[in-house]
Symmetry: C3
Subunit: 308 residues, 3 copies
Amino acid sequence: MDSLDHVIEAQQFNRDLLADLFAVTKEMEEVVSRYGSNIMNRRIMATLFYEPSTRTRLSFEAAMYRLGGEVITTESAREFSSAAKGETLEDTIRIVQGYADVIVLRHYESGAARRAAEVASVPIINAGDGPGQHPTQSLLDMYTIQKEIGRLDGVRVAMVGDLANGRTARSLAYLLAKYDDVKLTFVAPEVVAMKDDIKDHLVEHGVAFSEEEDLMKVAGEVDVIYQTRIQRERFGDRTEDYEQARGRYIINQEVMDALPSHGRVLHPLPRVDEIAPEVDADPRAAYFRQAQNGLFIRMALLRMLLEK
Amino acid sequence: MDSLDHVIEAQQFNRDLLADLFAVTKEMEEVVSRYGSNIMNRRIMATLFYEPSTRTRLSFEAAMYRLGGEVITTESAREFSSAAKGETLEDTIRIVQGYADVIVLRHYESGAARRAAEVASVPIINAGDGPGQHPTQSLLDMYTIQKEIGRLDGVRVAMVGDLANGRTARSLAYLLAKYDDVKLTFVAPEVVAMKDDIKDHLVEHGVAFSEEEDLMKVAGEVDVIYQTRIQRERFGDRTEDYEQARGRYIINQEVMDALPSHGRVLHPLPRVDEIAPEVDADPRAAYFRQAQNGLFIRMALLRMLLEK
Amino acid sequence: MDSLDHVIEAQQFNRDLLADLFAVTKEMEEVVSRYGSNIMNRRIMATLFYEPSTRTRLSFEAAMYRLGGEVITTESAREFSSAAKGETLEDTIRIVQGYADVIVLRHYESGAARRAAEVASVPIINAGDGPGQHPTQSLLDMYTIQKEIGRLDGVRVAMVGDLANGRTARSLAYLLAKYDDVKLTFVAPEVVAMKDDIKDHLVEHGVAFSEEEDLMKVAGEVDVIYQTRIQRERFGDRTEDYEQARGRYIINQEVMDALPSHGRVLHPLPRVDEIAPEVDADPRAAYFRQAQNGLFIRMALLRMLLEK
């Protein structure tokens, strides 16, 4: 796949397309530092969010404004009055594409973005469809690793926390499998361990991976720690297991002391207490830069989709 | 009435003003195809919605952006904190007109737009005031008929569905009565039949109309089928009557086979199941083009109100 | 303090800074009358509202648009999905500053704006933090007095209504204390009388003040009546006290007859019935002009914060 018609899932990006995207993303950083451009010439992006995700929405909207475009927005399906009257997603897309040049869709149902793209005459960007995909998050994670570490081939990444339910860790593992000599380590409580489908995919593509219990031991041997939030509700009644798991996988000064000097800590955010505040001041704490990379990646995608 | 100060109700538009409006609307289609203009020069439209109507709101906002303007927006009366503290609509208008050059008002009370216009120093556009008026919907319906059929004089229109409560069908009948040799046919379950006030108005203006039970018989003899949604709640406990009525008035392939080749199906949307999905691919299915005409009509109104 | 890094509280403004601000504000009135400027060059303001305050939000957003900027916005903490997941205010600020050039913060907790400013790399403007500060309201009140009366030194102001809980009256008293020969009169039911902390501050700064029961007697001897809303809930079960207090402090024609010809009535709005509608037509009723001054003040602050 060389041209970009819609952004539906992480899987649609191969190495070449990722390289193109990252080159455009780098340009976008310069556009922001010069306070924007007018390449969008007041074209309109609709952010159609069937469930709130304020951070993602604000990031997309800022991206469109930085490029000189405009935004029409709706935040919540409950307020989307047509949906409340029984309108299908497909009909809503058919109407909104009459008002906008690109639609950013957030939905609570897996596969919603693909359904939207099937009827749409304008580009659809998937901003998360339920337990399905959230490709722009995966892309910004990849961009951050490339930018912070300097390469993707040969990178060693520890994924920590809830790897079973965390959409971001799963997608990142999938995308990293496209690169050579990548080495992944999964550090997770058993109840939220990385699932077999991803492990099978890694085996199939010859990607080296291991599972470890001891975060401290892992920390010294990786380029990137990709931390994620463990949600209490995944543990049901097993409160003790939860507390123990959580306590074991906090990034604190001790972990940072073990991490190599060129290493980085990433996190898709929001965090609660799985990264100690004392870590923020460490230049290897890359998670806020990572969040800002979301702006650049989304600018690049908008440009690639609309500048044809 | 020649100049346009506010847009409050369908009745304020006579044939001459409609002709002017439709000429400007046609220009607006070209503006959109060229990706916008700057005639609004960053002037500000406030969308003041006391109840949500996402589609109408997005359409107005896109219209303002396409013209180079800006938008400040509030979606819901429940969030309008001043209203919650007991502020009158009139006071809210007096404040918001200090921030904006035009106010688009959606309200739950009939007559709210007129009350707003009485105190406003900027143009008010009624985006629906409860069971009252929703003039921009009526205007886009009229524009769609003129554009799709090529004329308004002599047009034959079947209105189908809930004609008693559907604001759009009532307003359309009212506006069509301004044209010559129009012929209207009302196809509705008895419980939601067209009301006497509109029928009296048609008689008074010499407009031919009839009532029919059989949609199939009507379909072959009209230029336009204007379908509307039948709401279950109008039938109370009479579930059987509802199911029967609904089933009888669905636009499907059989109806399309009866419709003349130049005929068109319109619908104010959202639809639920009163138009079968198989109809969408028929070029005579005009309802999504109709929705987009809403953008062009609203651009034209904004221009006529603000370009004085 | 000469330069302006953040706008956190009324106290940070001294006479010199207020004079600078008011000079820029006057320029902003001209910018609006010419339909905006481009000095913001599409920079982005984020309105981060953890509780709704529609009027304040719309005023800030209009201010940014009038200056050629853009806005990303969120209206309600309940919809701020990251906050719902336990994200701290500090983390949210660290993320949003990656998208925006200035952040307007409304929060339900006193001190939130200061906490935000401590971690922010972009200017923070406090748009109200709970029972704490709402400095832009105080600044627009001051600007309105200066503009309407022609001076701040020597001004005589009666503050009426709920002076105990009304943040605006308290801040105004505080700011007026910076000027010479100011004379304040507090007219309030005992249960919501001006509190001792403000009175102590006035004594300390040698500001003359008195407390009066009879609004009619006061009205003839002041330049400005600053009316505020009395909230029923402050009186608990004492309904009779509430009704009596409320009735005694309504601005009506009788009060206007007593007010000097150069006098002015101000109110932070929204009002309920503490100013009779008959007063609106009187040119000395300045409260809607005061609301619009909020636009000019906010434009001036944005310019001073971002044009460095």
